[in-house]
Amino acid sequence: MNALTLWFHRMGSPPTFYAFAERWRPWFLWSGLLLTVVALAWGLFFTPADYLQGDSYRIIYIHVPSAWMGQFVFAVMAVSGFVALVWRIKLAEIVSLASAPIGATFTAIALATGSLWGRPTWGTYWVWDARLTSTLILLFLYFGVIGLSRAIEDRRKAARAAALLAIVGLVNIPIIQYSVYWWNTLHQPSSVRLFRGETTIDPSMLWPLLLMAVATKLYYAWSLLGRAQAMVLEQESGKDWVRQLATADRNA
């Protein structure tokens, strides 16, 4: 058995996972916070203003990483859900279940910051642009997964049901995106293609953005591990190691 599979097997044991999460969470949190501060300070104060949009473009340091995370977390949710369904690994169920609210929040942040930026730039909070619409549908997909998992009492069954829906959603996401682009170009000429600027972004603006992307991943790891810890404790509440943990806490 190689080191990686061994690690996966070890992580399958709740106490080991709990200890692992306990050890690594502070690292994720502090490195993520540090990167956020550096990236935001860099992005907000030390990069030049855009010649066309002025300072309002700086919202991309929140907006773009959130949008990336919205899609990334959905993929993580579906892939770990697939692992949970196929190999029945409890931890994968927990990762899939715990990811949904985080991803939904990132997607909502991306939509909210996008519409705040759209107001001064496009003159309206919302346009039925293909990109915006598919992000909105992504948020709805998240809501469906969260709603389904909350509606089923049994935690493991809820995790499996949500995992299946997430997989169906992941298969659908490219189709939805394609269809929405098709729809938009059919109905109106593409008047708004500001996002195409992403590839032609100046390096001085790109670096803080990439740092922010890493920072959001670290935050996600921190938040995910915390939620997973809570779920593990709930699931194992009768076990000895949890009791020991609780009494140790009380004595401390």
Partner: protein, 235 residues
């Protein structure tokens, strides 16, 4: 000779259980004709509301007819999806599916086919009526008919999969809508887009082919997903 007969017997037995299930579902639907007609009546009624809300001007109605017809059909299908697996879960029927040793995807496929025959097909057949209520000209109405024929099976299959996931809940109406409607965006876009294209004189073939592609994708995958959902719900 012998092997050939064996193979034939096996193939028959492969389809025997799903066939019996489909016959049973259709028979039940026939005995409860009034109930089966409800989605159709719902669709007709909602369609009748649009001229009342927007004014009877035919040109204006025709312009939005494709979208109106598709949204109406989607909502009408949703209504009938909720109970698709519930009674079988409650009386232990789904457990029998699981322990029968028959192919679960085929059984699920038979149930989905039954749903389409009792909901999607009537709605498709009613398409000319919906079209004339909304003042759609002839070829656009034909396009709507074709789009519904290709799109409603996908609605039944994807919706049925979600319905299998919510089968254990006493009432899942809104939640089911929340799960199914985002997944139905492509069908809506291409379905309504086909009618729109026909209306503006562009060939609707592209959109129809996309719908057909979606159907070709859903046909093998949806029964598998639905079987997995049944496994999760029935455990």
């Amino acid at each position: 000779m012998h092997a050939d007969r064996d193979r034939r017997v096996r193939r028959m037995s492969l389809l025997a259980a799903p066939g019996a299930l489909l016959r049973r579902d259709l028979l039940i639907a026939w005995r409860r004709r009034a109930e089966v007609l409800n989605p159709l009546l719902f669709a007709l009624m909602v369609t009748a509301l649009f001229p009342l809300a927007l004014g009877p001007e035919a040109g204006q109605l025709a312009r939005i007819a494709g979208g109106v017809a598709w949204v109406t059909v989607l909502l009408a299908s949703l209504l009938s999806l909720d109970a698709l697996f519930r009674s079988d879960l409650e009386d232990g029927g789904l457990d029998q599916w699981l322990v029968s040793g028959r192919s679960l995807p085929l059984l699920a496929g038979a149930r989905l086919l039954g749903h389409w025959l009792t909901t999607g097909l009537p709605l498709t057949v009613a398409a000319p009526v919906l079209a004339s209520m909304l003042g759609l000209p002839g070829d656009a109405a034909l396009t709507l008919l074709a789009a519904l024929a290709l799109g409603t099976p996908v609605v039944s299959m994807v919706g049925g999969t979600c319905a299998a996931l919510t089968a254990a809940m006493p009432r899942a109406g809104i939640l089911l809508a929340l799960m199914v409607l985002p997944l139905m965006v492509p069908v809506l876009v291409f379905g309504a887009g086909a009618v729109d294209a026909a209306l503006t004189g562009v060939s609707p073939l592209a959109a129809l082919l996309w719908l057909a592609a979606g159907l070709a994708l859903a046909l093998p995958l949806a029964p598998l997903a639905c079987a997995a959902a049944i496994r999760i719900s029935a455990q």
